[in-house]
Amino acid sequence: MDSQTERYSRQMLFKPIGPEGQTEIGKKHVLIVGVGALGTHTSELLARAGVRKLTLIDRDYVDKSNLQRQHLFTEKDAEEQWPKAEAAKERLKSINSRVEVEAIVGQADAALLDGLMEDVDLLVDGTDNFETRFLMNDLAQKYKVPYLFGSCVGSFGMAFTIIPGVTPCLQCLIKRLPIQGQTCDTVGIIAPAVQMVTAHQGAEALKILSGNMKAVRKTYVSFDLWENEYLSLKAGALKDSGCLSCGDSPEYPFLQSGREMKVAVLCGRDTVQVRPAESGILPLEQLVSQWRSAGLEVGGNPFLISVVKDGTKAVFFKDGRALIHGTKDMNEARKIYHSLVG
């Protein structure tokens, strides 16, 4: 038994994978968007499983508050504020030196992602906002690449496997960008909820990468580990032939220019304006109650609300627009925006 065969022996002994499946896994390239809680778990799992290449994208750096649930990262990474994608890459190389890891420190926008898709075999969701998810969903459909949706907050989470041409897509399931104001920064998150999502994403990844398409899950999983609830919901009926992402005449709306979140530094004001891709009506009352309950200082009037988080003041308007004060850093402003409204 050579050393690579020994390394993956327990995975090859699993009949549905076997030596053939392992060879297939070893040829595959997986793109993971977001290297936070979900992305660190799935990237570790796939590096250990022996994929050929992982591409990791994240714009953020490691922060002390990440350590409670984001694997791969150490106290040293947080002290040195190492970029997440690079910190993850370093650890993954020590775990499996044969896996090629490409780390991209940057904003996962349409231009960047579209340029990466050419030889990608699987898209894995590790992001913290639906704007990026809808973008990944469009890319999955355009390039006919499976997309593993996953998300969680508190003890609650969900996972769904999107196979272009077979299952409904994220746009079929969720017609509009959902804004509920529940984020890991407002209602918290426990690490087991993360692992529950990545256990599902990981199993689906191994099925797809090893060529076991028949075993792919057709239901949408939703669970709450604290409430001891687990639902497995049939989703096929939502497949919509008129869907602009996956229907008969796709337009891939989130790949169109002008359809992205717009972020601009306001001239001379030390303020960044954030405008979401889809102008919708922010449920201001719900947000106020979420934020108050998260211990944030909240003020405002019927037209706008202001909130102070980590020393930064942000003002949200009913149409979804926000001003983030005290910064000229666009990535910092995006991060604060998503941490408050998702």
């Binding site: 969680c152 509920q180 529940q182 939703s222 919901l233 049939k234 009926a237 939502l238 919708g280």
Partner: protein, 77 residues
């Protein structure tokens, strides 16, 4: 009567994990409007609705004893 199971923040909004209501005959879309107006659940835009463990479209007609689940897609990751 129909049981409506609530998840994540909807539990908190309602102060309980399920609501009982008479929804038979209503479409899923009509139920959504009704819940937005008559309960503390507030805006249900983007909330996914399953009937008897299956997601259905807004024109699906609910029957007596169907169990409904409201699943809010959350954004964390």
């Amino acid at each position: 009567m129909n049981k409506i199971m609530l998840f994540a923040q909807l539990k908190e909004d309602a102060g309980k994990s399920a609501i009982e209501t008479k929804a038979a005959g209503k479409t899923v879309g009509e139920l959504r409007d009704f819940l937005e107006k008559e309960t503390p659940l507030g805006n249900l835009d983007g909330i996914m609705i399953a009937v008897n463990e299956e997601f259905v479209k807004d024109d699906w007609i609910i029957e007596e004893k169907d169990v409904i689940a409201l699943i809010p897609p959350v954004s964390g990751g």
